[in-house]
């Protein structure tokens, strides 16, 4: 059982990271559908860095940087040149799939050391919980720290409130003097960084090799996860664990011969997202602050 829970957590972490990054971008009004592409870049960047520098921690940095680079390309087009965000995001994923294939070609067939587990003093000795919660790798702790930070950042800090204002009504935010484009640049790059680290986690911990398209659609699940969490940070943890849990449950179900078709379980994350979306739009009449109102709309102002 313990091994299964650890597997669920490991599967959830890339989703969690990519989703919290996308949440920040969307809160600022930028819908970046390039998450899958940024994750792939993070994965290939991390693997290359670890092969070169032989230290898995550089992989995290390289993954973050690769994600930021791809996010910057997206920002140039959508924020500076005001292109359509949906089309650009989709294009970016297709572009990144090809680019990472090209960049990853020399890495094929090589394997790297995994990210070590860090035991937290004393806490890791608690039976059961210690093994599950306090014997994780650096990225796992980092992702929880990011979620906690973002929760407070969005709710209580001034920059966080400005970010939300930009996402909710960029015209007003602009007229009060906030630099809409600059803030969106930062938010998108933060999203790229998180997605990059999330992607990096795949070769660093889950499967320590490079293979083309190895994220296999997890970027899209992360996008669904943001909606599922209705743009509330802590719900992303719950959502990621549910999505990860369902993924593992359908495998366990098969191994143990549960009489549930595995396809039905594979479908669940998406079904849950649709239900969440329906519930959100049902509530919209009463409270329309859930979805950032300027989400996906280009801003035509000067800065």
């Amino acid at each position: 059982m313990e091994a299964l829970i650890l597997t669920i957590i490991a599967t959830s972490i890339p989703l969690l990271l990519a989703a919290i990054g996308e949440l920040i971008a969307e809160k600022s009004g930028v819908l970046n559908l390039g998450v899958e592409g940024m994750m792939l870049s993070g994965a290939v960047g991390a693997l290359g860095a670890v092969l070169w520098l032989e230290n898995p921690y550089y992989g995290i940095v390289a993954g973050a940087l690769s994600g930021i680079i791809i996010a910057s390309i997206f920002s140039v087009f959508t924020i500076n040149f005001m292109t359509n965000q949906v089309a650009t995001g989709l294009g970016l994923t297709i572009f990144a799939t090809g680019l990472t294939g090209l960049a990853g070609a020399p890495l094929v067939g090589k394997t790297i050391p995994s990210l070590p587990k860090i035991e937290i003093f004393l806490l890791s000795d608690i039976p059961v919980i210690g093994n599950i919660l306090f014997k994780q790798d650096f990225v796992a702790y980092l992702s929880i720290a990011i979620i906690i930070f973002i929760s407070f950042f969005l709710k209580y800090s001034k920059p966080g409130i400005i970010l939300r204002a930009v996402g909710d009504d960029h015209e007003s935010a602009h007229s009060v003097g906030y630099p809409v484009k600059k803030i969106r640049w930062y938010a998108t790059c933060f999203g790229g960084m998180c997605a990059g680290i999330g992607g990096a986690y795949i070769p660093l911990v889950l499967t320590p090799h490079w293979s083309e398209g190895m994220t296999a659609g997890r970027g899209w699940i992360a996008l669904a996860l943001v909606v599922f969490a209705s743009w509330i940070p802590w719900r992303i943890i719950v959502g990621a664990l549910i999505f990860g849990g369902i993924t593992i449950a359908q495998l366990v179900g098969q191994a143990r011969g549960w009489p549930i078709p595995s396809q039905l379980l594979s479908m669940m994350p998406y079904l849950a997202t649709i239900i969440a979306l329906t519930m959100i739009s049902g509530r919209l009449s009463k409270n329309n602050s859930v979805i950032p109102s300027s989400l996906g709309k280009p801003f035509f102002g000067s800065q």
């Binding site: 070609a105 889950l206 499967t207 994220t215």
Partner: protein, 374 residues
């Protein structure tokens, strides 16, 4: 001003990227040279998968080595199964290729469709079962390797639980599981196989997750019918053992790989191209409903077994005996009595399943847990 600088930056990056980009999928212009045979290949992914497509790439390289300047090979990578495949195959045919190898099951109908439009071009469809006047099929008896895997697994397992990861519940994969079970039960009646269907040929993370679940459920030997080396890497990390798929994966799992069944397409490609050059190309005999034209295994070297490793000498010896037995025909993997895992007799003693029956398999034999989905 700032926007212009950014735009210039993007253009420079783009230009540099363009310079480095080499278009491998270039489709040649139609021109006919005497004695040069133009050969086309359609790949499902890129050789970077280090599995299925990589094995085809090695076969293609053998063709180039064997014929040198006498063949001109064009490859199109990353072709999705479906309408895109039809377009790509048609372009290759238009480009003057005389023989075209389409290397995935899902290219079956697109290949037949294009073949009708180009009656003079020869087509070789890999792993399919439909043929026509100018479409032949080629396949490997993968299941022979899986029998040997079963023998090794049966002798090496301590928990008597084998974890098997399948791609899709199609006859190709099911006959592999059943062959594995036959090998397993030939040495160990207590061990059982538990199957997880990944519902994908290729998703390293899902394959890794499936491997982890198998290990958490008590399996100590893993086998896979999916394409990436992820399963073996997990085995390596968790101290379990397993088998490489399509290519030798020992680089990924030096302590965990017991051996790999390696797909060797080269001899088949060479044979077919040679036949074409001599005017002897044909679509073979045999009933149309099973992959009949070329279906080679260990005996014809289309399937190769890599070095036996990470096992005691006695086990390696048993494995070698099984290998020799299949090669000489002494072992018939699907010889009766065959009983399925619900106790129903499939075929009595003294008889054996023929090739056609293998392609109709939709049941598990004794030794496999659960039932075939769908």
């Amino acid at each position: 001003m700032r926007n212009i600088v950014i735009l210039l930056g993007v253009l420079v990056i783009g230009a540099v990227g363009f310079l480095f980009y080499q278009d491998k999928s270039e489709i040649p212009v139609a021109e006919k040279e005497t004695s040069v045979t133009k050969v086309g290949f359609v790949y499902l992914t890129t050789p970077g998968d280090h599995g299925w497509t990589y094995a085809h790439e090695l076969g293609k390289q053998m063709v180039e080595k064997r014929f040198g300047k006498d063949v001109k090979v064009s490859v199109v990578e990353n072709v999705p199964e479906g309408p895109d495949a039809t377009r790509v195959i048609r372009e290759l045919a238009k480009g003057g290729n005389e023989i075209i190898f389409t290397t995935s099951f899902g290219y079956m109908d697109p290949t037949l469709k294009v073949a009708k439009e180009f009656p003079d071009v020869k087509f070789e469809h890999i792993t399919g079962y439909k043929r026509s006047k100018n479409v032949a099929t080629g396949n490997i008896r993968f299941y022979e390797g899986r029998y040997i895997q079963g023998v090794v697994a049966g002798l090496m397992t301590k928990t008597n639980k084998i974890g098997y990861i399948g791609a899709y519940p199609i006859a190709e994969v099911i006959m592999g599981i059943n062959a594995f079970a036959q090998g397993l039960r030939s040495v160990n009646q207590d061990a059982t196989i538990s199957v997880i269907w990944a519902n994908t040929w290729y998703d390293p993370v899902k394959e890794a997750d499936s491997a982890k679940v198998h290990i958490a459920e008590g399996a100590d030997i893993l086998a896979q019918h999916t394409d990436s080396p992820a399963m073996l890497q997990i085995a390596e990390k968790e101290g379990a053992l397993g088998f490489g798929q399509s290519t030798d994966m020992s680089a990924f799992a030096p302590k965990a790989q017991l051996f790999a069944s390696i797909n060797n397409w080269g001899p088949y490609y060479i044979k077919k191209i040679e036949e074409l050059r001599n005017g002897k190309w044909n679509t073979g005999d045999g009933p149309d409903h099973w992959a009949g034209n070329v279906w080679g295994g260990l005996k014809s070297d289309m399937l190769i077994i890599s070095k036996f490793q990470n096992m005691p000498d006695e086990v390696a010896q048993k494995a070698q005996e099984a290998l020799d037995g299949i090669k000489t025909g002494k072992i018939n993997i699907f010889a009766g009595p065959l009983i399925d895992n619900t106790g129903k007799e499939i075929i009595p003693a003294g008889k054996a399943l023929d090739d056609g029956a293998l392609w109709g398999m939709n049941y598990y034999l004794q030794g496999v847990d659960g039932k075939v989905p769908g």
